[in-house]
C-alpha cells in the first residue's frame, strides 16, 4: 500500500495545473502530457503489483498456519467460538471497571504528576526538602516494577488490618497505578518545562511577572502543549495496566476471562479479553495521532484575524 501511495502522490500534485486554473492561457506542453501519461502508467503498474503480492502473501500465510502441525489443537484452545460467545459479555462487563479506573486514575495521575513536576522546578531554600522529596518519589516509583507495587498495596496493605483503611482491591489497585504513573507523568511534564527556552522566562520576568506567574502563564502552557503526545501515550499504557488490578480479585475484564478459562481449561477467554483491550486502545492511539497533527496544523496556520 505504501508503495502505491508513494508513486501516486507526486502525480496528483502534477495534475493540478492541467486545466489552466491560473487563467493565463497556459496550455500544457506535449512534453508534460507525455510525462504525465508515463507516471499514470507507472502508478497502474505499481497498484497491480501491490495487489498481486498481497494476495500471494496472504495465501502463503494462510496455508502455512493452517497446515502447521498442532493448528487444530491451537484453534480449539485459543479460538473456540463457543467459549468466545460465553466470555464476551462477561469480559465487556468487567471492562467497564477498567474504563472507570482509567478515568479516575488518569485524572489523578495528571494532577499529581503536575504537582510533582512543579515541585521539582521550585527555587529557593524553603523548597529544598520538597524538591528532594519529589526527585526521590520519581526515582523510586519509576524504578519499582508495577507488579510489585500492586502486590504490596493490594495484597500487603489489607494484611496490616489498619482501622479506616480500605481493603477494596479496586481502590487499592487504583492507588498503586496512580503512584507509579504519577512518577512517569511527572517526568513528562518536567521534560516539557525544561524544553521551554530560558529566554521565554527572561521575557516574562522582564515584564515584571514573578516566578510563579512566569511559570503559570508562560512556561506551563507551552510545556503542556508540547507534551500532549507523550502524555496520551502514557494514558494508553495506563489503560492496559488497569488489567493488573485483577491480581487483587477485582472482577475486571482480565479476571472475568480468567474465571472462565480456569473453569474450562480453554484459553479463548484470554484472547477475547486481549482483543477487547486492543480495541479500546486503538481509538485512543488514533486520538493521539489526531491531536498531534491538529496541533501541528494549528501552529502552522497560526490563526490570523
Amino acid at each position: 500500500m505504501t508503495l502505491v501511495k508513494e508513486q501516486s502522490e507526486p502525480e496528483e500534485a502534477d495534475d493540478k495545473g492541467g486545466a489552466d486554473p491560473a487563467g493565463d492561457g497556459y496550455v500544457p506542453s506535449p512534453r508534460r502530457l507525455e510525462r504525465e501519461r508515463h507516471k499514470r502508467a507507472r502508478t497502474r503498474r505499481a497498484t497491480a503489483i501491490a495487489a498481486a503480492s498481497t494476495l500471494v502473501t496472504g495465501a502463503v500465510l494462510y496455508l502455512v498456519v493452517v497446515s502447521a502441525p498442532g493448528w487444530q489443537r491451537t484453534k480449539e484452545t485459543f479460538f473456540d467460538g463457543q467459549y468466545a460467545r460465553e466470555a464476551f459479555p462477561k469480559v465487556l462487563e468487567g471492562l467497564w471497571l477498567n474504563v472507570r479506573l482509567l478515568l479516575v486514575c488518569g485524572a489523578a495521575v495528571l494532577v499529581l504528576g503536575m504537582l510533582i513536576a512543579v515541585a521539582r522546578t521550585l527555587r529557593g531554600p524553603v523548597f529544598f526538602p520538597l524538591r528532594v522529596l519529589a526527585a526521590a518519589y520519581t526515582d523510586f516509583f519509576r524504578g519499582l516494577p508495577l507488579i510489585i507495587n500492586l502486590m504490596i498495596v493490594v495484597l500487603g496493605v489489607p494484611a496490616l488490618r489498619l482501622q479506616g483503611v480500605t481493603v477494596d482491591p479496586v481502590l487499592l489497585g487504583g492507588t498503586a497505578l496512580t503512584l507509579t504513573y504519577s512518577a512517569y507523568v511527572a517526568e513528562v511534564f518536567r521534560a516539557g518545562i525544561e524544553s521551554v527556552h530560558p529566554s521565554q522566562r527572561a521575557a516574562a520576568r522582564s515584564l515584571g511577572l514573578n516566578n510563579r506567574q512566569a511559570l503559570r502563564y508562560v512556561v506551563l502552557p507551552q510545556a503542556v502543549r508540547r507534551q500532549v503526545p507523550p502524555l496520551l501515550n502514557d494514558l494508553v499504557s495506563l489503560q492496559k495496566d488497569t488489567g493488573l488490578v485483577s491480581i487483587g480479585g477485582a472482577i475486571d475484564a482480565v479476571r472475568a476471562a480468567d474465571i472462565i478459562a480456569g473453569r474450562s481449561l480453554n484459553y479463548t477467554p484470554y484472547i477475547v479479553a486481549g482483543l477487547v483491550f486492543v480495541a479500546l486502545t486503538i481509538p485512543m492511539t488514533r486520538f493521539t495521532d489526531w491531536v498531534t497533527s491538529r496541533m501541528d496544523r494549528q501552529r502552522a496556520q497560526g490563526g490570523t484575524t
Binding site: G208, Q222, R225, T304
Partner: protein, 257 residues
Amino acid sequence: MSDVPVSPGGLPVLRMEAVRKTFGDAVVLRDVDLEVAPHTVTALIGASGSGKSTLLRCANLLEDVDDGAIWLDGEEITDPRADPDAVRRRIGVVFQAYNLFPHMTVLENITLAPRRVHGVARADAEEHARELLERLGLGGKAGAYPDRLSGGQQQRVAIVRALAVRPRLLLLDEITAALDPELVGEVLNVVRDLKGDGMTMVLATHEMGFAREVADQVCFLDEGVVLEHGTPEQVFGDPRQERTRRFLRRIVEAGRL
C-alpha cells in the same frame, strides 16, 4: 509615547557606578559608569562581546552585578533588599530575538503584564493595547499568533508589549540584529517616534548611522570598559581613543556607517 511619565526633579533615570560583572574568569563589565538623563536616548556601541547586552541585563536585574551599584530614579536597585519584580515593572525590555510568547495571540502577549502584574481590567488593557498597535501600524494583527508575523512585525509587537506597562525606561538589546535588511527600517522608525514622545531609552546597537541620528549620548564599550562616551558628534566625528577610531574604521569598511 503620550504616557511617558515625567521624571521627578531631573534625577537621572538610570545611574551606574563602578559596575563589575564576571562570568567565571571572563570580566564582562569593568568599572562601568553610566548616567541616563530623563527623555534622552543612550546608544551603546562596540564589538560583539564588548558587554553591551550584559550591561542591559544588569540594569534589568536579569543578571546580578558582582560589584558597584545601579540606581533607578535615585533608588538603588542592586540593594539585595530591593524587590527585583518591582524594579522590572518600571523597565521595558525588547530583546534581539523578540521573545514573544508563541502560545498567545498578539493581544494576549501585550495584555499579559498589565492584567496579571498591574491589575488592569481586561477591557482597559485591551483598549490600550489596540491603541498602541494602531499607532505602530499593527492594527489588524491583534488576534494573530506571533509565528504568522514577519520579523519586523514581531519586533514591533515586542516593543508594544514593553510599552504596555508604561515603563520609565526602555532597554533595547540589538533589536534589529535578527531582522532582514528591508525590515530594519520599520523597527527603527518606531524608535524614532518613541524618542519624539520623550521616552527614555538605552539601546545596544550595531546600526551606527541610526545611533548617530537618534542618540543624545553614545557609549563605546570595549572589553567591558566604557572607553569613550559623549555626544554622537564627538564619538563618531572626533573620537579620542585609538581603539574607538579603529572600531569605527572597521564599521565604515563594512559599509555600516
